[in-house]
Homo-oligomer: 558 residues x 2
């Protein structure tokens, strides 16, 4: 692989910087573009009514003939959840490991584009040529099987992207992280490392998934009533361990919750989950068994209001509910922002009479993170020994912490680049510097609409959510200068109308007198009339209620 | 104090059970009612547009001639923040310690009812006679000075209410919790204990405030640039320690943020904060000092978007901003629900170039809780040795955990009562049982409106916030069966109109054809016309966008 002098390497993110999720990194050399991951994120609180958020792929659309492919590191939503949207606009080859592609296929099928997609199965020992670049892979540990890191050989040097990772020294299924391959890559010399920063704030090492399995077994041995376990559906290692614990104590398992059922089925089909056939029974069957023979494996570890666990707790699940004597194990920690939902679900479970084993103070060790802590991040840096370093995956403070860790292990401070979405690092002749920005950011998806909800619509939703709306309808004869009918005031989300009749009557009088005054002064343009009504009514309502509802005057002329 | 046989003691909460904040407990004996605390809580996420939530005081209003007084345990918002609303409706004597009343006075003044209020200063050694009951007090440790627990002697026996508390063995200002008085009360025999459950999930002991002070001093010695400390304004002990650390290293302090300025002034005035006059300088002055002589003491430890810290980080504060070289110490942990706000503020501070010392992984110990952990809760139970136990203050799971702790120290399971708001415990002749419910619950305050926003208004706000609203205006001649003008469609919060012209034109056609069809079929009632428009348009929009905006048809007739 040769290179001329004006060719250069660019590295940047279209999503996933300074945020959790929506991961999409791009490596470009000359006219070849390689994309790593295509994730989604769930909306921030202020993105009212938005379903999901994906990266802005304008850059890929503008350079579609140069995009050689999308490499997937693993099958979590924040890495593959945007893929169906991306492929609709830029239909390029996609490379992923078996489980990752298994999960992707489900999504593309749902989106109706599986037939048109070009999916390529890789293993950790595959080689993929992408124009002037070549990708190889190395196995990592993470909270979903079949996760890989990427080694991208470019004419300018080697770029390594870790994906999400931890170093689990006792991994479930004995799928060890490929330390030897990482060491080998490091020894060859790495130009630039992009490494997962999610747990850069946490000192020490992240615990092994194996320990969680042992703790779950211990709990199963001690519990006499029914056992309900809620965890992330995609954490197949943990799901495997729940089945093993159930087997150990002679219990059957029923699987509830849409995503848990989907993932368990996919994982069994593809050979990632090993369960004797008669272990799994359906909800009707399990209700016939004695309590001490029952395990219910459920979604809802994040307290999602519509999840199976929450519905069971509220007694609104079709087939199952929580009863006194049940023990619920929540084998997960809340994702930031979900703390309140989880707390409410725990409250409901207690109220329904269950014992609940969960987060703080439980000290039972039924969850470990899928991301490496500070010592593991330093280990990765020391294995790969890059010249340049770009901390990825995580909010800004985590990227900063990761940069400090890099400095501790000897990466020069000026060789670390903390990027925002769209910031580029250009490397030419071994020298890195910031390059020109590329378009990047959030694309909001609301229902079928992609990107049609922007700041104005969100601002209106915010206003409407705070104090509601008043629609003022009035018919005028401008010629005669009189009100023919109305004003009628219709409100939604402002006050309970039946108890606020006086207020609304007074509002009515104010609109009437405002319009009469305008017309007597020959203020006749619609926009002035509307503005006068808005102002007078807005002022009155604020004085009376300290609220500022949206006011929508509709003035008809006959 | 004698008692006849049909007289009994009732204990219940009007607010604060199964939630954090809004605390209000009631003890009634015969025709005498004593209220303990009158707090507010901040709205849950789904209470759109609501400013604060207070307890439903219908019960007090219906029994106003029997209410002998309100006893305040300490000056936090969740214990005094509802007082001005309560006193407007039930103006009874209020009893509190010096600092508590100092903070209450500010609030009542703002509400314009200070002159009409009956405030009575107490000390920990006061006795207050309230009809057939007598209240005495005992000093506790908490994250605000001048906190007390209450010992209420009733003809049926002694009821103890702890207020919020911890046991701090090395309290700042040497204000020790009155262990001897608690022991003495316990020895006399206590009928019922109501005890703070906030930290019932936490094993061990809560750390001492003193340790925080030492750690802050250590940090101050090490830091060279400007120091910004954000903490709760009302934690006067911590504020005192920040001043002491500043003094130690020869720095001046400027105080920013409305509530911090208010509390610091009140606390200095009342003698709870001891600061040499020349230590405090204003923001203009401090900007003239060298970096290593500056401390900025600020609000914003919860990442509140309008707080001084957040504004400084965003460079939108009038006088101060964050600069590279600054160190920001966030001496607080996020209150549940605020995690995201705090995380964002930390990100912004890092982006502005500051070093930030905050929560996870910092291991610097710049915060301790104001509430006792499990060992302290057990200590309180063992000191007071009550016959009956009511865990108070905290969400349901915390009350449950506290009940389990009580069982561990020998309170019989059947003698613990976990109440919901409005549930009553009646004790007569030494026997306790559940009594009839009293009215209780949430009163939502939006602007000046107290209780005028209910479920219907909130449901509309929720709908409006998700997908916005479409107003459809059309003028008909029913006689002729034709549309005279319109339909005009006005949308807010639905789609960005300029980019959705086709969709809205098609929507227009659908409304027109729906109305024409109705009129041709002689469907003429307004309600039917409106419903038909709503249905047809709603179906069309859902098919096209998968959204369900609110649709408001306005049909005028000429």
């Amino acid at each position: 692989m040769s290179k001329s002098n004006n060719q250069k390497l660019s590295i940047f993110a279209l999503g996933g910087v300074g945020e959790i999720g929506k991961n999409m990194y791009v490596v470009r050399y000359d006219d070849d573009i390689v994309v790593i991951d295509a994730g989604l994120k769930f909306p921030e609180e202020e993105m009212l009514g938005i379903d999901i958020v994906i990266p802005d792929i304008t850059y890929l659309e503008e350079n579609r003939d140069k995009v050689r492919g999308i490499l997937l590191t693993h099958g979590h939503e924040d890495h593959i959840g945007g893929l169906s949207y991306v492929l609709r606009h830029v239909n390029v080859p996609v490379y992923g490991t078996k489980l990752t592609l298994g999960l992707v296929e489900g999504k593309l099928k749902e989106a109706g584009i599986l037939g048109d997609s070009k999916l390529h199965l890789i293993t950790p020992s595959s080689e993929v040529v992408l124009g002037s670049m070549k990708a190889t892979f190395f196995r990592t540990n993470h909270s979903i099987p079949d996760s890989v890191g990427i080694c991208l050989e470019t004419p300018e040097g080697i770029v390594v992207h870790t994906g999400d990772f931890k170093f689990d020294q006792t991994p479930v299924n004995n799928q060890f992280a490929d330390l030897h391959r990482m060491a080998e890559i490091g020894k060859r010399g790495v130009l630039c490392l992009l490494s997962d920063s999610t747990n850069a704030e946490r000192p020490g090492f992240t615990g092994s998934e194996y320990v969680v399995g042992e703790n779950i077994k211990e709990l199963f041995k001690r519990i006499n009533g029914r056992i309900i376990v809620a965890t992330f559906a995609s954490n197949i290692h943990r799901v495997q361990q729940v089945f093993e614990a159930a087997m150990l104590v002679g219990r059957k398992v029923t699987v509830v919750g849409r995503s848990m059922v989907n993932v368990v089925n996919t994982a069994i089909e593809l050979g990632y989950l090993h369960v004797p056939e008669d272990m799994i029974v359906d909800a009707e069957e399990i209700n016939k068994l004695p309590s001490d023979k029952i395990v219910i494996l459920s979604t809802g570890s994040q307290g999602e209001p519509m999840s199976a666990l929450t519905r069971m707790a509220r007694n609104t699940h079709r087939k199952l509910d929580i009863m006194p004597g049940d023990t619920v194990i929540i084998a997960a920690t809340p994702i930031p922002g979900n703390e309140k939902f989880v707390a409410r679900t725990v409250d409901q479970l207690f109220r329904a009479g269950a014992d609940v084993i969960y987060g703080p103070g439980s000290e039972t060790g039924v969850h470990v993170s899928g991301h490496g802590s500070q010592e593991e991040l330093k280990l990765m840096l020391n294995l790969i020994r890059p010249t340049y370093f770009i901390p990825i995956h995580g909010e800004y403070r985590m990227l900063r912490q990761h940069a400090m860790l890099a400095e501790q292990v000897g990466i020069k401070r000026e060789n670390t680049f903390i990027l925002d979405n769209g910031d580029t690092v250009e490397i030419q002749n071994g020298k890195a510097r910031y390059g020109p920005k590329v378009p990047a950011g959030n694309v909001l998806i609301d229902g079928l609409g992609v990107g049609d909800v922007g700041n104005i619509v969100l601002r209106d939703r915010k206003l409407l959510s705070q104090d509601g709306i008043l629609v003022v309808v009035v018919t005028l004869s401008k010629q005669k200068g009189v009100i023919l009918s109305g004003p009628d005031i219709i409100s939604r989300g402002f006050v309970y109308v039946r108890e606020s009749e006086e207020l609304l009557e007074e509002a009515n009088r104010i609109v009437t007198s405002t319009l009469n005054k305008c017309m007597s002064e020959n203020v006749n343009e619609w926009s002035s009339l509307k503005n006068n009504v808005k102002e007078a009514l807005g002022r009155f309502l604020f004085e009376q209620t300290r609220r500022r509802p949206m006011i929508l005057p509709i003035i008809m002329e006959v």
